[in-house]
Each structure stands twice: as structure tokens, then as C-alpha cells.
């Protein structure tokens, strides 16, 4: 565990290593295993059916997706193992501090909507580096953006691999390592095969599976324990009170696990990370017009809230069951290894959603279904990440920077090779993850917020932002966000540096998941300052920015560049 704020106070009470490993039932389970196999077969089938050879289909699904379907895709793309498993874990172990993850990973969509969604749709290209490269008329900027896209996909996907491994342990009875390898291989094959259109079609299915599994588990636990009836989201008040009064008051004490600064910094990073994530951005390129882009954001947030509001419910239900299981299972608390649920070990915490259903002594097929939902969540997001990584490599690096006249076939091949390479690398790191799932994903958000959000935002809202400004701003963001992450993770890989971080002071001010509260304003200042002293962008770039904001409708396949370059539409006359 690397985030100093994330070490629960109760962790210090873990003493002797007895036999206790984790509470999740190990061993192969037939019905859950068949559920997962059927689910994977369905994904591969749909992916194959909608398989693609054309670049437009591979990366932006032919720009043909409607608002509810795209809303579901936003939801599935968004809700990874970190949302499905990780957030409940963080709320349970960190209490009020963990709620910064709930707030950060939901409310950011509002900022995305009011400032960026429709404008990005009007910009109408393929990838995030496309936007940076074209808006800032610079191949260097494009290259930096492509590199950052790859780094984000990589860090983000590690957390997913970790979640897949945990679920495989429960469902297939294999070791964590084998689980990571099996599920990651399936994901790699699936993405390489189906591309964006297949992945988008699947995302609606994946969303349905994951939300049904998540809610079924939540309703079943609430019902069976007599805690809730029709609206568990609002009905766990008495259970929360029970935790506060009898189990662990720290759960709701605002600053027991992290300071006010740490809370705000974390929420800020996650919110603005939302607005800087390339695989989220691409979802707006896939819709048919900007009105659809706006409404699909609203739908997406609705679908996301269905799950996120439930994470606190799961955290509370799960915590009570962890202290006093209905099922005859040993947990860290009953084994005497932790004084309260807030001190549960990482493997239990990350599996808490599934564990809650198991500890409530509900049937194995239901526990398996909830676990399968976790696999669907991890797979959908990983697919989106791999696609954004492969498009950065094939479209932005290979085609735009290296070989201008690359054929579609070449691009598709480069894209697939990237998916395999990045997938293998993720597998290796995920086998021994450096942090909890939610924290790993939080780091990817910090990178996105520090590097991408300032250039996206100023690129869209200030036409005088220049290429020099953008490059300087992105480099600032890279230094801050990567610096914060390396500061906190390197000691975990080498004995040469003692302690949790190279510099504990830096780790307090710039936690690896929350570096954006300082990084984003700094990058803004750098971009504005450098832009003011360098010469203005060319007129056609300014027209491009104006076209992104113009209320006039555009044709589906048109990009802002096409219109701006036309020298004005006939309406000018």
C-alpha cells in the first residue's frame, strides 16, 4: 500500500501471521465457472459478428451510436474492476476518506458535459492525441499525447488485471497469477478481434450484465438480512448507525484516514482525470451528433450512479457481515487478526462486493454471478483502454509521425501488435500489483488530469493557446504526475530505498493518486504564460476552435477541421 493516507489506522493491529489468508471461498465452482465461460463466449461472439477491418469502425464505431446505447457504453467503459470492486473496498477500509472516490468518479461527468463533451464531438477526429496534435498544430505535442495515452492505458489496466485475478481465484479455483494470465489473454484476444464497433456493441451488454449482477447481489443481501426492501440505496441508514455506534466510529469520522487536503486533492484529481481520459473522450467521437454527445453523458452518469450509489451500500452491508458472518467463514476479524473491518487485508477488501454476498450465506450461483459481473466490468474497461492505446500507437505514432501513407491494413496490424504487447506487459505487473485496485486506477486519473485536462480545456476554451504553451504544459503535468507515482512506488520494488516513499514530504503534498490539485493549476499557469509570450496560433487553428463551439449543426462524418477549412459555410453570404 503506497498512499500514506490510505493506510487505515487499524492496520497496525495486525499481529501474528496465523493460518488466515483470505475470506473468499477458494476452489473451482461449476455454475459460476459456466456463467463466466458463457459470458466470455457471448462477448467473443458479438465481437466477431461486429468485427471490423475499416479504421473508422475500429476506432470510432462508424460514428453511429445513439444516446442510450452510448450512455451504457460510457457506463461499461467507465466502470471497471475499480468501480465494481475497488470503491466499496476503499469506502470500507478508509471510511469517509474513501467517499472521495465515490464523489470523484461520478461528479466529474458533469464537468465533462458542460465544458467538453459536445465540443469534442464537433472536433470529430479519432483519438485524444489527434485533438492535441491538430489543435496545437504540432507533431511533438501529438507524440507526447500518444505516449501519455499509452502510459494511462497501462497503469489503468494493471488495476483491472488485479481484479480479474481475484475473481478467477474465487470462480475457477486457480491461483491469482494464473487467473490474471487467463482473463488477460481472453481480453487481448477479444479486443484484437473485435475493435471499437464490436467493443461498443458489447459494452451495452457488458453494462447490463455488470449492473444486474451488482444490484442482484445488493438487493439479495439487503433482503435476506432484513436490512432493505425496494430502495437499498437509501435504506441502510440504521446499518450505518450500527457501524458508527458499535463497530468502528472511525468509519464516518471525516479526517480519520486522511486530512482535508488529502480528501480534496483526491476528489479533484479524480474529477479532472475524468475529463482527461483518452478512452472516455473517444466515447464522444462515436456518437452521431453533439446533442447525442450531451444526452449520452447524462445517460452515462445515470447508469454510473446506479452502481456508485450502491458502493456505499455494499461497504456498509459488507462491513457488518465481515464482523459477524452469517456463513460459517473465518474473516480477519473473527480470526482475531484485525480489530475491526477497517483493518481487513487488501485481498479481502478488493473482493468485498463478492465477499458480502458470500458472507450473507446466499447461494453459490448468485455469488458466482456477482463475481462474473466483476469480470465483465474489468473486461469492458480494459477493452476500451487497449483500443485507445492501440489507436495512439497505430494512428498517432505510426501513421501520423512515422509513415504518412500507411495503409489501413498496416494500421490495423500495428494496432493489434500494440494490444498484445501492452497486454503482456500489464499481465507481468498485475501478477504482483504495487497497490490496491482503486489506488492503481487513481494514479491513471492523476496522470490524465495533470497532462491532458489542461490542454483539452484551454485548447477548447482559449483560442490563443499556442503549441509551445501546450508542450510546456504537458511536460509540466508529466513531471508532476509521474514524479508523484515514482516517488511512492519505487521503494516497493527495491530494498535500496527504505520506507514507503523516496521523499515522505513529497508524498504528503503530492500523493500519487492526487497530484492534480497542484499539477492542474500549475499546468494552466504554464500554458497561459508560455502562450502569452509566444506568437498566436495561425488563423485556421482559431477557426477550428471556433467551429468546435459554434451552435450550427454539422454532418455526421464531418470534422471541425473540414468546416473551418471550407472558408465558412454558405450561410456566410
Amino acid at each position: 500500500m503506497i498512499d500514506p493516507a490510505s493506510i487505515p489506522a487499524a492496520v497496525g493491529t495486525v499481529v501474528a501471521q496465523v493460518e488466515y489468508t483470505n475470506a473468499l471461498d477458494p476452489g473451482f465452482k461449476l455454475v459460476p465457472a459456466l456463467t463466466v465461460v458463457a459470458m466470455l463466449a457471448l462477448f467473443l461472439g458479438v465481437g466477431w459478428f461486429f468485427r471490423v477491418a475499416a479504421v473508422d469502425d475500429l476506432w470510432v464505431a462508424g460514428r453511429s451510436i445513439g444516446p442510450i446505447e452510448n450512455g451504457m457504453a460510457i457506463g461499461a467503459n467507465w466502470m471497471s474492476a475499480a468501480s465494481y470492486l475497488g470503491v466499496a473496498a476503499l469506502v470500507a477500509t478508509l471510511g469517509y476518506f474513501g467517499l472521495a472516490y465515490v464523489v470523484g468518479w461520478t461528479t466529474g461527468y458533469f464537468i465533462l458535459l458542460i465544458f467538453m463533451a459536445a465540443q469534442f464531438r464537433r472536433f470529430g477526429k479519432y483519438t485524444a492525441p489527434d485533438f492535441v496534435g491538430d489543435r496545437f498544430y504540432s507533431d511533438t505535442a501529438r507524440g507526447i499525447a500518444a505516449f501519455t495515452t499509452l502510459a494511462i492505458a497501462f497503469v489503468y489496466a494493471i488495476g483491472q488485471g488485479s481484479g480479474m485475478g481475484l475473481m478467477a481465484e474465487y470462480i475457477l479455483g486457480v491461483s491469482f497469477e494464473v487467473g490474471v494470465i487467463v482473463f488477460m489473454s481472453v481480453t487481448i484476444g477479444y479486443v484484437a478481434l473485435s475493435g471499437m464497433l464490436g467493443a461498443t456493441k458489447n459494452m451495452a451488454i457488458q453494462y447490463t450484465i455488470l449492473i444486474v449482477a451488482f444490484l442482484l447481489g445488493m438487493y439479495a443481501v439487503g433482503w435476506s438480512q432484513g436490512w432493505s426492501t425496494v430502495m437499498p440505496y437509501l435504506e441502510f441508514g440504521p446499518e450505518t448507525a450500527l457501524i458508527v455506534e458499535e463497530l468502528d466510529r472511525q468509519f464516518i469520522e471525516p479526517f480519520a484516514s486522511g486530512s482535508y487536503y488529502a480528501w480534496v486533492a483526491l476528489a479533484f484529481s479524480l474529477i479532472f482525470g475524468t475529463c482527461g481520459l483518452p478512452h472516455v473522450l473517444v466515447r464522444f467521437y462515436t456518437v452521431d451528433n453533439e446533442r447525442t454527445a450531451r444526452w449520452s453523458t447524462v445517460w452515462g452518469l445515470f447508469f454510473i450512479c446506479l452502481l456508485y450509489l450502491g458502493t456505499a451500500t455494499y461497504a456498509v452491508f459488507g462491513s457488518i457481515l465481515y464482523e459477524d458472518p452469517v456463513q460459517d467463514t473465518e474473516t480477519a476479524v473473527t480470526a482475531g487478526e484485525a480489530t475491526s473491518f477497517m483493518g481487513m487485508p487488501g485481498a479481502d477488501a478488493d473482493a468485498l462486493v463478492v465477499l458480502t454476498v458470500q458472507l450473507a450465506d446466499l447461494p453459490e450461483w448468485l455469488v458466482g454471478l456477482v463475481a462474473a459481473g466483476g469480470v465483465a466490468a474489468a473486461l469492458a474497461t480494459t477493452a476500451g483502454l487497449f483500443i485507445s492505446a492501440s489507436s495512439a500507437a497505430a494512428h498517432d505514432i505510426y501513421t501520423n509521425l512515422y509513415k504518412e501513407d500507411a495503409t489501413q491494413r498496416e494500421q490495423v496490424i500495428v494496432g493489434r501488435v500494440t494490444i498484445v504487447a501492452i497486454g503482456l506487459l500489464v499481465m507481468v505487473i498485475a501478477i504482483d500489483p504495487p497497490a490496491l485496485i482503486g489506488e492503481l486506477v487513481g494514479m491513471a486519473f492523476a496522470i490524465a488530469a495533470c497532462v491532458f485536462f489542461p490542454v483539452f480545456f484551454l485548447g477548447l476554451w482559449w483560442e490563443n493557446a499556442t503549441q509551445e504553451g501546450a508542450i510546456a504544459g504537458m511536460l509540466t503535468g508529466i513531471v508532476i504526475s509521474f514524479g508523484a507515482i515514482l516517488n511512492a512506488t519505487i521503494p516497493g520494488y527495491t530494498d535500496a530505498i527504505p520506507g514507503d516513499a523516496i521523499s515522505p514530504t513529497v508524498a504528503t503534498v503530492l500523493p500519487p493518486t492526487s497530484s492534480a490539485l497542484i499539477g492542474v493549476p500549475l499546468a494552466f499557469v504554464v500554458i497561459v504564460a508560455v502562450s502569452l509570450v509566444t506568437s498566436d496560433p495561425p488563423e485556421d487553428i482559431k477557426r477550428l476552435v471556433r467551429q468546435c463551439h459554434s451552435p450550427k449543426p454539422m454532418k455526421r462524418s464531418e470534422s471541425a477541421e473540414d468546416v473551418a477549412a471550407d472558408g465558412g459555410t454558405p450561410a456566410d453570404d
Binding site: 469517509y96 461527468y109 449543426p553 454532418k555 472558408g567
Partner: protein, 180 residues
């Protein structure tokens, strides 16, 4: 400028050249006709033509959005002013809902943790875990709805813009078919 000349020609032959390029980029020839038709009528203007352009007139003088500066703090068109007014208002409300509860917990910890709602939720927990995400959802819906209204005010129709593209394709092929 040559661009303007092309535009002046009103989507007839000189404009075809540029549109063909755009269509080629799309990789599909049948859309040539669409592009021509849509470019000729500017996608949004079939309605404007039919009612003599009142939709555009109602919104005030015709504005060339490509000639107006984009700056978050200096909106240069009435549309942008209306839009940004709403954006900043909603953004302010959002800040209160998102960072309000934690800030209140800092200054009035006892009140926020001792007050309970809905059968036992401490107030800080309730406002953060449940109210904040819901508030963002409601604010998002309000903004999307407001933008639709704004579109109507300025005579913009995406639905028909989209439809015009599609029906335009049929119309264009039909039209294009007649002379030949």
C-alpha cells in the same frame, strides 16, 4: 479569397471540388451526393429556406461563428453568452455539492457527524455518498435540457440536421438523377 468564391457559388459546381475531397476522406462515394446537397443547404437551412429563414432571423442577425473569438471569460456571441451564463451558474452549484460537505465537516465536525438523517445516516456520510452524485446527475440533466432550449432559441435543429443529411441524400440522388 477563393474559399469565399466557392462558398458564394452556393454549393454548385465550384464547391463540388472541396466537397469531393471531404467525401473521399470518408472513403465512400455515395456520400458525395449527400455532401453536395447538405453543403448546398448547409444542413440546417432546409427549414430556414422553407419558412423564409425566420428561424435564423428570430435569433437576431446572422452570426459567422468562425469569425468570433473563443475565450472562456470573453464570450463574443449572444449564444456563447447564454451558454456560459448557465455553465458558470451550474458549475457554482456543483462546487457547493461536491466540496461543500467535506468543508462543512472540517468546520462543524460535530454537527456533520452527530446529525442523522433517514434512519441513521450521519449527515456528512449522506451528503457525500448519496447526495453529491445525485446532484451531479440532476445538474447534468438540467444543462442538457437547457442546451436543447438554447438550440431552439437560436433556431438550431440537430434532429433535422441529421435527417436533412439523410433525406438530403435521397433528395440529392433524385435531383441529381433528373438532369442526367
Amino acid at each position: 479569397m477563393t474559399d469565399d468564391e466557392a462558398a458564394d457559388a452556393g454549393g454548385s459546381t465550384p464547391a463540388d471540388a472541396t466537397d469531393d475531397e471531404a467525401a473521399d476522406a470518408d472513403g465512400s462515394t455515395p456520400t458525395d451526393a449527400t455532401d453536395d446537397a447538405a453543403a448546398g443547404t448547409d444542413g440546417s437551412t432546409p427549414a430556414a429556406e422553407a419558412d423564409g429563414g425566420t428561424a435564423a432571423v428570430a435569433a437576431g442577425e446572422e452570426i459567422d461563428y468562425l469569425e468570433r473569438e473563443v475565450n472562456l471569460f470573453r464570450p463574443s456571441t449572444p449564444f456563447m453568452r447564454d451558454n456560459l451564463k448557465m455553465i458558470f451558474t451550474l458549475f457554482g452549484v456543483w462546487v457547493v455539492f461536491v466540496f461543500g460537505p467535506v468543508t462543512a465537516s472540517l468546520f462543524a465536525e460535530e454537527f456533520m457527524t452527530e446529525t442523522t438523517v433517514l434512519g441513521g445516516f450521519p449527515l456528512n456520510f449522506f451528503l457525500t455518498a448519496i447526495v453529491a452524485p445525485l446532484a451531479a446527475l440532476v445538474l447534468a440533466a438540467i444543462y442538457a435540457w437547457y442546451r436543447d432550449r438554447l438550440d431552439r432559441k437560436y433556431g438550431i435543429t440537430h434532429g433535422s440536421g441529421e435527417d436533412a443529411g439523410e433525406t438530403g441524400a435521397e433528395g440529392a440522388t433524385a435531383d441529381g438523377g433528373e438532369p442526367s
